[in-house]
């Protein structure tokens, strides 16, 4: 299937000489939730800005649903909705007016029934006549999502959608995003809340210093890079790992009171059974054990650290 967004050899150098993006290549599949992860200043917002037409690319090409974002900008942009990171709204407009304005701006015929549906879906209906200045931050964020959805886009960009949003609202927001995906909208979200990507995304891309350093199916990524650790709390502290257990590559921790075994969840055999047998034969007894799987966050941190 043709990707809905295709970015090839995209670079951006700002007038100051700062290279925000370096030769980015990225395909987004139709109907997926794609999470773009990266530390602050990695180039996430610049990349989104270029695709949406706010930032001029220096080199490279981007197509949205097969339409070049520069040569064929009307077709490309009418398919894209953008929720930017900053909460920027017209203070004195009402919710209804601002969402209807967005629809018209994108060239769509007025459709009060559709606007009503969006506002109801986002729990904004009872605020429809409120001025934006009177709304809370979380409500404003919803209004911005409503504006982005007003022209029925196929692609929705959410730039840090849950920054500064409380836990409950964040969960609501995730629900909204999931139900949008169910209607066939492709969603690209940037975040530095790893749990968000872990919770929501189908695929994850990691960007650091203007380069995409990894794009992977989320489950695959967790499998590939997700290491699991078995920690055994020993009854009697050890000075060194006994030679009979040398093949497991274990480490001692907590002053010899803990034995740590790291293994790969992707492997057919984890070696745990034989390890426990060997421990028994060596007469090493333990009082407790825990296993721990690395989260996307730990994977992410270790990936970004590897970058020069």
């Amino acid at each position: 299937m043709q990707p809905i967004i295709s970015v090839s050899n995209l670079s951006k150098t700002y007038a100051t000489g700062f290279r925000a993006l370096k030769n980015i290549n990225l395909d987004i599949n139709r109907g997926e939730i794609f999470a773009l992860l990266g530390p602050n200043g990695a180039g996430k917002t610049t990349l989104i800005g270029i695709i949406c037409g706010i930032v001029n690319p220096s080199e490279g090409k981007v197509t949205a649903d097969g339409h070049d974002i520069i040569r064929d900008y009307r077709q490309a942009r009418s398919r894209i909705g953008l929720v930017p990171q900053e909460l920027t709204t017209d203070a004195f407009e009402t919710v209804w007016a601002t969402v209807s304005f967005s629809r018209g701006l994108f060239g769509k015929k007025a459709d009060p029934a559709y606007v009503e549906k969006i506002l109801r879906d986002l729990s904004l209906w009872d605020k429809k006549d409120s001025k934006l200045i009177t709304l809370s931050g979380g409500m404003k964020r919803r209004v911005m999502i409503a504006k982005a959805l007003s022209h029925e886009p196929q692609i929705l960009f959410l730039d840090e959608p849950t920054a500064g949003v409380d836990v409950e609202l964040r969960r609501d927001m995730w629900e909204v995003v999931r139900s949008l995906r169910d209607t066939g909208v492709t969603i690209i979200l940037t975040t530095h809340y790893i749990e968000e990507a872990e919770e929501m995304a189908d695929r994850v891309g990691v960007i650091s210093h203007g380069e995409i350093i990894l794009v992977e199916d989320k489950a695959e990524l967790m499998r590939k890079l997700g290491r699991k650790q078995l920690r055994l709390q020993l009854l009697n502290p050890l000075d060194a790992v006994p030679a009979s257990l040398g093949t497991y590559g274990m480490e001692l921790a907590d002053g010899g009171r803990e034995l740590v075994y790291t293994y790969d969840t992707a492997g057919e055999r984890t070696g745990i059974t034989s390890l426990l047998q060997d421990l028994n034969e060596s007469g090493i007894r333990f009082k407790d054990l825990q296993t721990h799987q690395s989260s996307l966050e730990e994977i992410f941190v270790s990936l970004v650290r590897k970058q020069p």
Partner: protein
């Protein structure tokens, strides 16, 4: 052409006008009335007729021009500067609209607003002095042309400005002096010969003169030149806007 988008922006901008009715319509009308009271009635009654026109009536075209210029510039510059300032411009830039459509909508709204204002001031003036308009068609043409040209000029200022100070700078330091010295309150024939020459470098002279001719059939410079100069200024503004959009100056990074 994305007419729906243009309509949306135009109506959005006009809605801002109605929301700030006091500031955008009532205050210019009040200040113009004050000019009539002071210059027309109090001082004007002691000034002799100029080219057969009473001083009170003589200043009417100039006063309308004064409001038209300052309001066109401030409406248009504020209209585009404010979204830049608050950040809501992201939506306009990401929408399937061309720069031409964006400009036409913003400038169209700003110009509509100042034309309405100009006509209201004209009606107000009619309450103070007897008015007869010799060439109504030309009067409207000058009104519209000036409103559009200076709204375009204001739009450029709004894009160029990166702070509220710059937004005020050009109207305050350039446009207001040029208007006052551009023959709004006097005929340039009243000036010493040297200053008559200097004053011809002031573009506002041509606007006021042409506009006044459409009222009374008298002019400081010929109407053809007035019209020509207005069109030249319009063309210059169009070129600057075209350049802004080609380069994305101060709009896109």
């Amino acid at each position: 052409m994305n007419y729906r988008a243009m309509r949306s922006i135009y109506l959005f901008e006009m809605a801002r006008t109605w929301r700030t009715l006091l500031q955008s319509i009532v205050s210019p009308v009040i200040s113009t009335s004050l000019y009539f009271v002071v210059f027309g009635a109090a001082i004007g009654s002691r000034i002799e007729e100029i080219d057969g026109v009473s001083y009170g009536a003589f200043i009417v075209p100039g006063l309308i021009m004064l409001s038209l210029l300052t309001q066109s510039i401030s409406n248009a510059s504020f209209g585009i500067y404010f979204p830049k300032f608050t950040g809501t411009i992201y939506e306009i830039l990401s929408a399937p609209v061309s720069f031409l459509e964006i400009t036409a909508s913003y400038v169209g709204a700003a110009a509509s607003k100042s034309i309405i204002l100009g006509l209201i001031i004209l009606a107000t003036a009619a309450l103070f002095v007897p008015l007869h308009i010799a060439h109504p068609f030309w009067m409207l043409l000058f009104l519209v042309l000036t409103a559009v040209t200076f709204s375009l000029f204001g739009f450029i200022i709004g894009i160029w400005a990166d702070g509220f100070e710059k937004l005020q700078l050009v109207p305050l330091l350039i446009v207001t002096p040029l208007t006052f010295l551009g023959g709004s309150f006097y005929s340039i024939n009243m000036l010493p010969p040297f200053w008559q020459k200097v004053t011809l470098f002031n573009p506002v002279v041509y606007l006021v003169s042409g506009f006044r001719w459409s009222f009374f059939g008298i002019a400081d410079v010929s109407v053809g030149i007035s019209l020509g100069m207005t069109l030249v200024f319009l063309a210059v503004c169009l070129c600057i806007v075209a350049w802004i959009f080609k380069t994305g100056y101060r709009l896109k990074t």
